[in-house]
């Protein structure tokens, strides 16, 4: 679900590392970083506590905290520690809490040392002091909690005594056992000394491991593009964003060699509904940034008052990623999220307007992409904005969700006193607007450079239709078996995929299609029935059936394309010709081999994943929402590639999707999944014909 924005900068700007913040309170970026890194740290700490023999993972929980210490103020680190320790406490109890506090302490120190540009000797010295302080705190605590200490020591002594008395029954062990008891008793007598040595040792060890891991990870993060876009405009005065007039406004990112937005003249008045269209890289998002308060590099933007981003009567923005738009855990909470204290919008009416009536108490975690985006629109409307900017809000939403969203958008300017700027790369969506601004003439097609044509087939493959590859017999799966949270995801699913087949498994949100994909790939053992790959259970041969996840970035584990392909395929990265051949098979140029993963576009990432998977010659290839999040050009390119692969090499393809659009040729056979049950049906006619 994450991918590189082509218009993003190739390098993080230097200022990003330490944003000077004169004001005391945390900025939006700092809060978000503190929260997400805290959650990451808590997750690692919880795994180390809950999963047996995974204690070592807690060493890694220092890294997110170290990153915060390196990039932000101490205040951010403290807020994050608070959040992470509370989360860990809620899930893993007091031990989770302790692990997080410890990791924040050590991680924060290493991060700050890193920021100061010091090296390993400083880490050793600082961790020595930190360990001593930590030891003092623990000794102080145990000195106060006399009874708890006594009980713990007595319980330990009883166990040791028991072992010793057993050992003493056997003559050769009597003396060593007695000695051990003596040493143990001595150690308990001098417990402060023992605890202090332990504290110093463990803190130094964790610091050094954390330092090592943090340094490696920071090296890795250098090439990551910055997807953070919005900034709070620096402004005072009354909020009045409309009417706005752009006069030859042009924008170029600092250090870039071309304009992100070519000179543009445009005016937007109250009550207008404007569609902005254009290909990727034409500056649609940059235009959104300018309207949201960024200053143009040249030209001018005039408005009567302040932009008022997110303020009452100001400018509201809804962006692309459904999950990231929604900040509240409960639907009603998200509508009011961030409103000034005392503001009481009519939540029921707002939710009704976006078609979410009666869902105020629902958890946002269970909403579909389309519902999340409509909720984000409701939250924007709660601010009664004069200008609402919808930036490609339908691009990660399925067809039904897209229609519902467009339905909400189409009437907005009639029902409210506001202007709507709808940015989209689907021409068909622009139809509902009063007028369309097209940015396409300034297209800069750098995305297409590395996509060569797929090579001609080398093997003349005649598909033998009847050989079954995947056989599912009465497959059922229930999550959380035996718990009050038990939820059936699949029920009595039976079908067969034969060699060379192209199958589309179609289903909506929560239909169980992702579970089915995991079962077929062998990643999940079904709780009922059997899933066989060439006659053997799938979960006993993970890797035989390849699966490309929707979140391609998560499947790319190595730092560079060649390393990644080699690791996924199981050959050495030095075998350049095999890497190049694997890349060529998915239509990627060999020159891409040494490119860093984080500098690839979304379409390229997906192709690299497929290249690595196909190089192992899998029995079948499962693709989970292969087109989601790609622009129209990349979608068509990927579809052409997959169709060609199936036709020419006899690849067996299973696509999991909530969309039919454009998949007919790749997947002639369609299975429809509804609430975990396979329904025969599904003629794609009438549902297809999406805006792609």
């Amino acid at each position: 679900m994450t991918w590189t924005r082509p218009e993003a900068l190739p390098e993080r700007p230097a200022g990003r590392l330490r944003e000077p913040r004169p004001q005391r309170s945390l900025s939006p970026v700092e809060i978000a970083q503190a929260a997400v890194m805290g959650a990451l740290s808590a997750a690692l700490a919880i795994v180390s506590v809950v999963v047996p023999f995974a204690g070592g993972i807690s060493l890694l929980a220092t890294v997110p905290m170290g990153l915060l210490g390196y990039r932000y103020r101490l205040r951010v680190l403290i807020a994050s520690t608070f959040a992470a320790s509370t989360v860990a406490f809620l899930i893993a109890g007091i031990s989770g809490f302790m692990v997080v506090v410890n990791c924040a302490y050590v991680g924060g120190l290493t991060g700050i040392i890193k920021r100061r540009g010091r090296g390993t000797p400083t880490v050793i010295a600082v961790s020595l002091i930190a360990g001593t302080l930590f030891g003092l705190v623990i000794i102080g605590l145990l000195a106060v909690l006399v009874r708890l200490r006594t009980l713990t020591f007595q319980a330990m002594t009883a166990n040791v005594d028991g072992v010793v008395s057993v050992m003493s029954a056997f003559e050769p062990f009597r003396q060593p056992a007695e000695d051990a008891r003596h040493v143990f008793g001595l150690a308990l007598d001098y417990w402060p000394v023992l605890l202090m040595s332990y504290a110093i040792f463990s803190i130094m060890l964790v610091s050094l491991v954390g330092w090592w891991a943090l340094s490696r990870v920071l090296d890795r993060l250098r090439g990551i593009p910055d997807v953070h876009k919005l900034g709070t405009p620096d402004e005072t005065g009354t909020v009045a964003p409309l009417p706005v007039r752009l006069d030859q406004a042009r924008f170029r990112y600092p250090g870039a060699d071309h304009d992100a937005l070519r000179p543009l003249s445009l005016s937007i008045d109250a009550g207008e509904h404007i569609a902005v269209t254009g290909a990727n890289g034409s500056g649609k998002t940059t235009l959104m940034l300018l309207l949201a308060g960024r200053r143009p590099t040249s030209g001018s933007i005039r408005r009567p008052g302040a932009v008022g981003l997110g303020r009452a009567g100001g400018t509201a923005v809804v962006m692309q990623h459904p999950e990231s738009q929604v900040l509240g855990t409960r639907v009603a909470d998200d509508v009011v999220w961030g409103l000034p204290p005392g503001a009481r919008p009519d939540i029921a009416t707002l939710l009704e307007e976006v078609g979410l009536a009666g869902m105020a108490e629902r958890d946002t975690g269970g909403l579909s992409g389309g519902e999340l985006q409509r909720l984000a629109v409701a939250a924007a409307l709660a601010r009664r904005p004069a200008l609402l900017i919808a930036d490609e809000i339908t691009s990660m939403v399925d067809q039904r969700g897209r229609d519902a969203l467009l339905g909400v958008l189409s009437g907005l300017t009639d029902r409210h006193r506001m202007a709507l700027v709808h940015i989209t790369h689907y021409d068909s969506e622009a139809g509902i607007a009063d007028r369309t601004v097209s940015l396409s003439e300034s297209t800069d097609n750098k995305v297409m450079v590395a996509q060569a044509a797929p090579p001609a087939p080398t093997v003349n493959h005649a598909p033998a239709k009847s050989v079954p590859v995947l056989q599912l017999r009465d497959v059922g799966h229930e999550y959380g078996c035996g718990t009050p949270w038990a939820k059936t995801a699949l029920r009595d699913v039976s079908f067969t995929v034969s060699e060379g087949d192209g199958v589309l498994i179609h289903g909506g949100n929560g239909s169980g299609k992702s579970t089915l994909a995991w079962v077929m790939a062998g990643l999940t053992a079904p709780t009922a029935g059997a899933c066989l790959v060439r006659g053997k259970p799938a979960h006993e041969q993970v890797g035989q059936v390849a699966i490309a996840f929707q979140a391609a970035r998560l499947q790319l584990l190595r730092s560079r394309v060649d390393l990644e392909v080699a690791s996924a395929a199981g050959f050495s990265p030095h075998e350049t010709d095999r890497v190049v051949a694997a890349l060529a098979a998915v239509g990627l140029d060999g020159s891409l081999a040494r490119r860093r993963i984080d500098q690839l576009s979304g379409g390229q990432m997906r192709r690299v994943v497929i290249a690595g998977l196909l190089a192992r010659r899998p029995q079948a290839l499962i693709l989970d929402e292969p087109l989601a999040g790609l622009d129209a050009d990349s979608q068509q390119g990927l579809l052409r590639l997959l169709t060609g692969l199936r036709r020419d090499t006899g690849l067996t393809v299973v696509v999991i999707s909530h969309d039919f659009a454009g998949l007919q040729e790749l997947c002639p056979r369609i299975l429809h999944l509804d609430r975990g049950i396979l329904t025969p049906s599904a003629e794609p006619s009438g549902v297809s014909g999406g805006p792609a």
């Binding site: 309170s25 809060i31 978000a32 929260a35 997400v36 890194m37 805290g38 990451l40 997110p64 807020a79 608070f82 959040a83 992470a84 509370t86 809620l90 109890g93 106060v144 009980l151 007595q154 009883a158 166990n159 028991g162 890795r220 993060l221 900034g231 949201a292 981003l309 997110g310 962006m319 990623h321 999950e323 990231s324 929604v326 900040l327 509240g328 855990t329 409960r330 009011v336 961030g338 000034p340 503001a343 975690g365 959380g480 078996c481 718990t483 009050p484 949270w485 790939a521 990643l523 079904p526 009922a528 059997a530 259970p537 993970v542 890797g543 996840f549 979140a551 970035r553 790319l556 584990l557």
Partner: protein, 272 residues
């Protein structure tokens, strides 16, 4: 085919379905109760406080109608470990004596061990009760209300509460992403490496790769979340409903305080 040996998993941050007095209590009350009881037990881990706390937890479990299935399966090695501990502690002996069929058994060691185990279980159950009966969405607002007095001391309590709310929102998404990362790793062939040194180096490189992938995803998530916060004009309210204690909460707090004070008094005065 695997149904028979399926273990009950640990379910994260989701309350047991249903509604009860305990479910409806203010989240802050539950946090306070856990805090007060833990503090009492930390200072006075005697049989009386442990027993009284266990009774309170048992009543709460009954009121909240927590089914047995909510408790995750306990791995066999843990049972064996506890049993082993009990046996060695019994062999350790110590006062008092227990006469069993005319055999004197010294059960002092066993009693110490049992007390320590009981203490651990009560503390675990206390924490679990909060998870089982509290909607995640209610935690951060409750923390904000509870922390209000600290605001006078210039602690940035509101920033903390917002960070906590967002961390709880981001947590399930990160867990899903970890599941994917783990699955992606399982799909790969194992590299065949002969000597231990290159295997170790390979392993370390892999740890860094996984960590870097995880952090990259988290960074992006944070970037987007930061944009979403900016788009809403910064932070402000985090919940639609007011977060404050009601009558049931005062009653609960009263009961817990009385029980804790009684336990401490018995522990100090009566048992010394």
């Amino acid at each position: 085919m695997t149904a028979a040996r399926q273990r009950r998993p640990v379910v994260l941050l989701r309350p047991v379905p249903g509604s009860s007095v305990i479910h409806r209590l203010w989240a802050g009350t539950k946090l306070l109760v856990v805090f007060v009881i833990s503090l009492t037990l930390a200072f006075y881990p005697g049989w009386v406080p442990i027993g009284l706390a266990a009774t309170l937890v048992a009543i709460a479990i009954g009121l909240a109608r927590i089914p047995r299935g909510a408790v995750p399966s306990i791995p066999r090695w843990l049972w064996i470990l506890v049993l082993l501990g009990a046996v060695t502690a019994t062999l350790g002996g110590g006062e008092p004596l227990l006469r069993l069929w005319s055999v004197d058994v010294e059960v002092g060691g066993l009693l110490k061990f049992l007390r320590f185990t009981a203490l651990s279980i009560v503390l675990l159950a206390l924490g679990a009760m909060v998870s089982w009966t509290t909607n995640v969405a209610d935690v951060a607002p409750a923390v904000a209300t509870l922390g209000r007095p600290l605001r006078a001391l210039r602690f940035p309590v509101d920033d903390w509460a917002v960070t906590l709310a967002l961390a709880l929102r981001a947590f399930p998404m990160l867990v899903d992403e970890f599941r994917l990362l783990y699955a992606a790793r399982r799909l790969r062939p194992r590299p065949v490496l002969a000597d231990g040194r290159s295997r170790r180096r390979r392993w370390l490189a892999e740890v860094v790769d996984l960590l870097a992938a995880g952090v990259t995803v988290a960074l992006r998530r944070a970037d987007e979340m930061g944009d979403a916060i900016t788009a809403r004009g910064g932070t402000g309210q985090i919940s639609a409903a007011p977060s404050r204690p009601g009558r049931a909460d005062w009653v609960t707090l009263g009961i817990v305080v009385v029980v804790c004070v009684a336990a401490v008094v018995v522990e100090i005065r009566v048992l010394g």
